[in-house]
C-alpha cells in the first residue's frame, strides 16, 4: 500500500470512528462517580467469624447479601465490589434512603434466640433463674436488673470456658479501666482487633497500665445490652452463650402490626420458621412453659411466666414471655412468630429487611467512609469541565502560536482525541471521578507532547534544507521512537497505579492509560495522514507555514560546563527541603493518618474559634479546624473539622450543632481508619518502587543500562524536591498527591527520554567528539523541544490549578512542581550524571585526552575540527533494503507522474550525503594497510596460581 492510499485509509478509518463516537456520545449516559454526583462511599474490611474464614467465596456471599440489603432500600445504581483480598467497597449515590442503606449494609445481623432465665448469669457467673434481681422478673431483659458494662465484663471474665459447639464465638476481648470503671474498647475477637479499635476511636493510645487492663471473656459467656436502650445507655446482662435458635432458623420476616386481640397496633416483625427451626422452637417454648408451670406456686400465673430473648448483634431487641397456661406444650411454630417492643415502622422495616437478607457470613469493619453532598458533587463536575476546556484552549493557542499550520493539524487531532476518548469513557463505561477528569486533562498534554516532538523534528529537517514532504516523512520516522518510549513509560506507570493504588486513584490511572493509547492514535497516525495528504498541496508550501522560517533556532550553550552550578542550585533546594521535612514535617492528610473529617459549608459566616466553641460541648475542642476556600462552595468558603473517628451519632450531633448555630449548611464527611490509611501508604510505596523498577528495566532495554541510573537519580531528585516543597509550604499530602508523584515519574521521564534519544542518535554520528560535546550538541538540538513539551503539559496543569476547585488544586500543584522539576532535572541532572559516568569509561577518556591534546589541553564545549571539516558522519545511509525507481507510471510501484516529479525535486533539494570516512577517527598506529595482516593481540598470560609457569 503506498503512502497516499495508507493516508486515505487512516483518514477514512478515523472518520468512521468519529461518526461511531458521536453516536455513542449522544446515546450512552455518562457514569459519574460519587464525588461528582454526591453519595456515600464505604470501605469494609472483612474479618473471619468462628465458622467462616475470609475467602473469595465468603466475601462474594457477603457482597450478595449486602446488595440485597441495598436493593431493599430502593437505592439505584449501587456499586458493591471486592477490593484487594479482604475489602469490600460500597458506593451509594445520593438518593432517598441512601444514608439508611449505608447504615444497614455492613451490619453483621447475627440473630440469636436465648432461653432467658436459665442463661442469665448472676454474681460468680452462676445462673439464678428464680432471682428477679438477676433476670429482671417480669421486666426480663429490661434495665431493672441490668448492670453496668464494666461490671458485666468483669463478671463474664470470671466464667469458665465451655465448648458445647453452640457458642457464637471463641472468646472476646475488652479493654477496661478499673479506676474509672469504664469499658474503653471491645468486644473484639482478637487482641489485634482490640488494639486497632483503640487507635480508631479514642485519643488515648492502646496501653495497658496499672488501672487499664485487657479482659478476655471466655467462650460460653457473652455480654449483651438490655432491651429498649440506646447505644450510649450503660445497661447490660451476662448470658451463657448457648442460643437455642439462630437467624438461619427463620424465614419470611416482614414488618407488621400487632393487630391481635387486645393488641396495641404497634409495629412488629413477624416471621416463619424453617422446618428445623419450627421443631426447635416448639421444643424450647415447651421447656420454657413447663418451667413456668413448675415455678408457679399458686396466685397470679403471669408472675411465673418465663421468657426467651432475641438478640441482634449483642443487643437484646425483645424478651417476650411464654404463657404456660395457654401453651403448656409450647408454641407451634407452623404459624410463625413475631418480635415486638419499641419499634417504629421504620426500625421494624429495617429489622425485617436485615433478617430477610440473612446474616453476613463475615464480620465487616468499616475502615473508610466518605459522604459527598450532591451540590458539592455538581460544583466539582462543573469545575472539572471548565478546567478541561481551559486546558484544551490553552494548549490549542500554544500549538497555533508555535506551529501555525502544523498547530492547526494538531488542534484538529486534539479535538478528535477528545471525541474518541469521551466516547470510550461512555462505552466501556469508565466511572468518571474528579481524579479521572484530572487524568483526562493531563492526557491533553500527552497528546500535544507527541505532536510537538514530531513537529520539532519536521522543523529541524526543513531547516536542514529538506523539502516539506520529505521533512514531514523524516520527522515522523525519526520522532517516533522517542514518542513510543515516552508513551510506553507513561502507560506502564498508569498500569502500575491502576493495579496498586486505591479506588480514587484507580480512576485517574485508568483514564490516563486509555488517554495515552488514544492520543498515540490521533497524535501520530491521524496527523501523519493529514500532513501526508497536505504535504504536496499549497497549504504547506512555505517554511513559515510550519513556524520554521528562521534558521537561527539552535541554542549554543555549554550545558555540561554549567551543570556544576545547576547541581549546586539543586543541592541548595534539597538542603532547604531536608530542613523543612525535619523541622515542619509532611502534612499528612487523613488518608494516611486516619480519622474523621467533616466539611461544613455554613449558611452564616463564622470563624474557626466560633466553630470550636460550638463543638466544644461535643468533646471536639481539640479538633483541627481549618477554613478552606473554593468556587465549589456557594459562599466561597467552608470549614474542615478533622478529629479522631466520629461515630454516626457524633457526626449527626456535629451537623446539628453547626446548623443550629450558623443557620444550616451542607455537609460532606470522610472517615479513614488506620487499616485503610496503611493500605494507602503501603500501596503508594509499592507503586513507586514498582514504577522505578519497570522504568529502569525499560530504559536499560531501549538504551543501555548506564542510561537507566541517571534517570533514577533524576526521578529521585524530582520526588524529593516535590516532598521538600510540600513540607516547606505545609500542603496536605493526600492519595491524590501520591497519584501526582507517580505521574511525575512518567512526565519527568518524557523529557529525559527525548534528550537521551537524541544522545543515542548522535553518538554514532559524532565519532570524534567527547561525550560532553555530544551531550551539549544533543541538548542544543532538543532543548526547545523539551521546553515546548513541558509547557504543553504545564498548561493543562495550570488550568487545573486555577479552575479545578479545592480537591484538584493540591493535585495540580504537586504536578506543576513535578513537571518543572522534571524538565530541569532532565537537562541539568540526568544528562550531566550520564556525562560524568560515561566520560569515566576508558574509551571515552582516551577520546577526551586526544581532543584535549590538540586543543591546548582544553576540551571545547562543542565538537570542532581543524580546517572546518565536518565533525559528523552520515549514519542515515543505513543498511535497509532499497527500492529502485527508474520511471514514472511504473505499474509495480504505483507511482504516478506527480509523485515522480515531487521525488525528483526532493532529490535535487537535498544535499548528497557525505561519505563516512571511518579512518578519520583512527590513530595512525591503528591504521593498517589493506594487504597487511592486522597484528594479533598478544595472548594473555595464564593465571600463575592455576597454570604452568611460562
Amino acid at each position: 500500500m503506498n503512502d497516499r492510499r495508507r493516508n486515505l485509509f487512516v483518514l477514512l478509518a478515523i472518520g468512521a470512528a468519529i461518526v461511531a463516537s458521536a453516536v455513542v456520545i449522544l446515546t450512552q449516559p455518562t457514569k459519574l462517580g460519587l464525588d461528582l454526583k454526591g453519595g456515600v462511599s464505604l470501605t469494609y474490611q472483612a474479618k473471619p467469624t468462628k465458622k467462616t474464614q475470609v475467602t473469595g467465596d465468603s466475601i462474594q456471599r457477603a457482597i450478595d447479601i449486602m446488595r440485597e440489603r441495598v436493593d431493599q432500600f430502593g437505592v439505584s445504581e449501587p456499586e458493591i465490589q471486592r477490593s484487594g483480598t479482604d475489602q469490600i467497597d460500597v458506593s451509594l449515590p445520593s438518593a432517598k434512603n441512601a444514608d439508611e442503606a449505608a447504615r444497614q449494609v455492613g451490619k453483621t445481623a447475627q440473630l440469636y434466640f436465648y432461653d432467658w432465665e436459665p442463661n442469665v448469669l448472676g454474681p460468680g457467673c452462676k445462673p439464678d433463674p428464680t432471682n428477679s434481681a438477676v433476670t429482671g422478673g417480669s421486666n426480663a431483659g429490661g434495665t431493672t436488673a441490668a448492670i453496668s458494662k464494666y461490671d458485666a465484663v468483669q463478671r463474664a471474665a470470671t466464667c469458665k470456658p465451655t465448648s458445647t459447639g453452640q457458642e457464637t464465638n471463641n472468646g472476646q476481648y475488652y479493654l477496661v479501666d478499673s479506676k474509672t470503671k469504664t469499658v474503653l474498647a471491645g468486644p473484639q475477637l482478637t487482641l489485634t482487633d482490640l488494639k486497632q479499635e483503640m487507635r480508631d476511636h479514642t485519643p488515648i493510645p492502646y496501653l495497658e497500665t496499672a488501672t487499664r487492663k485487657v479482659v478476655k471473656i471466655p467462650a460460653g459467656a457473652i455480654v449483651v445490652q438490655a432491651a429498649d436502650t440506646k447505644p450510649a445507655d450503660d445497661a447490660f446482662f451476662v448470658l451463657a452463650d448457648q442460643p437455642a435458635l439462630t437467624g438461619t432458623d427463620i424465614k419470611d420476616p416482614k414488618q407488621n402490626f400487632d393487630n391481635s386481640t387486645g393488641g396495641t397496633g404497634a409495629p412488629t416483625v413477624t416471621f416463619n420458621f424453617t422446618d428445623k427451626g419450627r421443631k426447635t422452637w416448639q421444643k424450647v417454648t415447651k421447656q420454657i412453659a413447663q418451667r413456668g408451670s413448675e415455678n408457679n406456686f399458686g396466685g397470679n400465673a403471669q408472675s411465673s411466666f418465663q421468657h426467651f430473648a432475641i438478640a441482634l448483634d449483642n443487643q437484646l431487641i425483645s424478651t417476650p414471655y411464654i404463657d404456660w397456661t395457654r401453651n403448656p406444650e409450647g408454641i407451634d411454630g407452623s404459624n410463625g412468630s413475631e418480635i415486638s417492643g419499641g419499634f417504629t415502622i421504620k426500625s421494624a422495616q429495617n429489622l425485617a429487611n436485615l433478617l430477610k437478607t440473612g446474616a453476613l457470613p463475615l464480620r465487616l469493619k468499616l475502615i473508610s467512609a466518605t459522604k459527598v453532598s450532591a451540590e458539592l458533587g455538581k460544583a466539582a463536575l462543573r469545575q472539572g469541565l471548565v478546567a478541561g476546556l481551559a486546558g484544551l484552549i490553552l494548549v490549542s493557542l500554544f500549538l497555533l502560536a508555535f506551529y501555525r499550520v502544523l498547530g492547526l493539524v494538531a488542534i484538529s487531532a486534539l479535538a478528535v482525541y477528545g471525541i474518541l476518548l469521551f466516547a470510550l469513557v461512555k462505552l466501556i463505561p469508565i466511572t468518571l471521578t474528579l481524579p479521572g477528569i484530572a487524568g483526562l486533562i493531563l492526557t491533553i498534554g500527552v497528546a500535544a507532547d507527541a505532536n510537538i516532538v514530531i513537529f520539532e523534528r519536521v522543523k529541524e529537517e526543513v531547516r536542514a534544507g529538506r523539502s516539506i514532504p520529505v521533512a514531514i516523512s523524516q520527522g515522523y520516522r525519526k520522532g517516533l521512537s522517542a514518542i513510543i518510549d515516552a508513551n510506553v513509560v507513561t502507560f506502564m506507570v498508569a498500569f502500575i497505579l491502576f493495579i496498586l493504588a486505591t479506588a480514587g486513584v484507580k480512576g485517574f490511572a485508568f483514564t490516563l492509560g486509555v488517554g495515552v493509547l488514544v492520543s498515540f492514535l490521533t497524535a501520530v497516525l491521524l496527523t501523519q495522514a493529514v500532513l501526508g495528504t497536505l504535504g504536496g498541496s499549497g497549504v504547506l508550501s512555505s517554511r513559515g507555514s510550519l513556524g520554521a522560517q528562521s534558521d537561527a533556532q539552535r541554542f549554543h550553550w555549554d550545558f555540561m560546563g554549567a551543570s556544576r552550578w545547576f547541581f549546586s542550585l539543586s543541592g541548595v533546594i534539597l538542603l532547604i527541603g531536608a530542613f523543612a521535612v525535619g523541622g515542619k514535617g509532611l502534612n499528612l492528610g487523613i488518608d494516611f493518618t486516619s480519622g474523621s473529617r467533616v466539611t461544613a459549608e455554613l449558611v452564616q459566616k463564622g470563624s474557626e474559634s466560633q466553630i470550636r466553641d460550638t463543638l466544644a460541648p461535643l468533646g471536639l475542642d481539640k479538633a483541627k479546624i481549618q477554613r478552606v476556600t473554593g468556587k465549589e462552595f456557594k459562599s466561597g468558603e467552608a470549614f474542615q473539622i478533622s478529629s479522631r473517628k466520629l461515630g454516626r451519632g457524633q457526626r449527626v450531633a456535629v451537623e446539628n450543632a453547626l446548623s443550629k448555630r450558623f443557620g444550616g449548611g451542607q455537609y460532606s464527611f470522610q472517615f479513614v481508619g488506620p487499616t485503610f490509611g496503611n493500605t494507602v501508604a503501603n500501596g503508594a510505596i509499592i507503586a513507586i518502587i514498582a514504577s522505578l523498577i519497570v522504568i529502569s528495566a525499560y530504559i536499560a532495554l531501549r538504551f543501555e543500562w548506564k542510561y537507566a541510573v541517571p534517570v533514577l537519580i533524576a526521578l529521585m531528585h524530582d520526588l524529593l524536591i516535590t516532598a521538600g516543597v510540600y513540607a516547606l509550604f505545609g500542603f496536605e499530602v493526600t492519595t491524590a498527591t501520591v497519584a501526582a508523584l507517580l505521574t511525575i515519574l512518567g512526565y519527568s521521564l518524557y523529557d529525559t527520554i527525548i534528550v537521551f534519544d537524541r544522545v543515542r542518535e548522535n553518538v554514532p554520528r559524532m565519532p570524534r567528539a567527547a561525550f560532553s560535546q555530544i551531550l551539549n550538541r544533543s541538548m542544543s538540538e532538543v532543548v526547545a523541544r523539551s521546553l515546548a513539551t513541558s509547557l504543553s503539559t504545564l498548561l493543562p496543569i495550570l488550568a487545573l490549578l486555577f479552575f479545578g476547585g479545592t480537591t484538584l488544586k493540591d493535585f495540580a500543584f504537586a504536578l506543576a512542581i513535578g513537571v518543572l522539576s522534571g524538565t530541569y532535572s532532565s537537562i541539568f541532572i540526568a544528562s550531566p550524571v550520564l556525562m560524568h559516568w560515561k566520560e569515566g569509561e576508558p574509551a571515552w577518556r582516551k577520546r577526551r585526552a586526544r581532543i584535549a591534546g590538540v586543543n591546548d589541553g582544553v576540551v571545547p564545549a562543542f565538537a570542532t575540527s581543524v580546517g572546518g571539516a565536518s565533525t559528523e558522519v552520515n549514519v542515515d545511509a543505513d543498511n535497509k533494503p532499497r527500492k529502485r525507481l527508474t520511471s514514472p507510471d511504473d505499474p509495480n510501484r504505483g507511482v504516478d507522474r506527480a509523485e515522480w516529479d515531487s521525488l525528483v525535486r526532493d532529490l535535487h533539494a537535498d544535499a548528497p550525503p557525505p561519505v563516512r570516512d571511518e579512518a578519520a577517527d583512527l590513530l595512525p598506529e591503528d591504521l593498517v594497510l589493506k594487504d597487511e595482516p592486522k597484528p594479533r593481540a598478544p595472548k594473555r598470560p595464564r593465571n600463575s596460581r592455576h597454570g604452568r609457569k611460562r
Binding site: R564, F567, S568, V572, F579, L720, P832, V833
Partner: protein, 90 residues
C-alpha cells in the same frame, strides 16, 4: 519521616560533590550510592537503631544525615584512590 530527612540531606550534599575531582569508586554514581547509604545508615545508628516517626522528626534529625553523607563520600573517594582511579578533568 526521619529516613526521608536523612536521604534528602544525603542527596543535597551529594550535589556538591561535583566540585571534587572525580576519583570516586564507581564515579559519580558510586559516590551517590555511598552518600545515600551512608546518610541513612549513620542516621539510623546515631538515632539508636530506630527511624524517627512523623512526630519525632526534628531539624536535628535532618542534621544527623550530614555525618553519614560525608563519611559515605569519603569512603567512595578513598576506595577510588585505593583502586587507582585517575581524576576526571571535566
Amino acid at each position: 519521616m526521619g529516613l526521608l530527612a536523612w536521604v534528602m540531606m544525603g542527596l543535597a550534599l551529594w550535589h556538591f560533590a561535583i566540585f571534587l575531582p572525580d576519583r570516586f569508586w564507581g564515579g559519580i554514581v558510586g559516590s551517590f550510592l555511598c552518600v545515600i547509604v551512608g546518610a541513612a545508615l549513620v542516621g539510623f545508628i546515631v538515632s539508636g537503631f530506630t527511624v524517627p516517626g512523623t512526630n519525632d522528626t526534628t531539624i536535628s534529625t535532618a542534621l544527623l544525615g550530614i555525618p553519614g553523607s560525608l563519611l559515605g563520600l569519603a569512603f567512595a573517594y578513598g576506595l577510588g584512590v585505593q583502586r587507582g582511579n585517575e581524576a576526571l578533568e571535566l
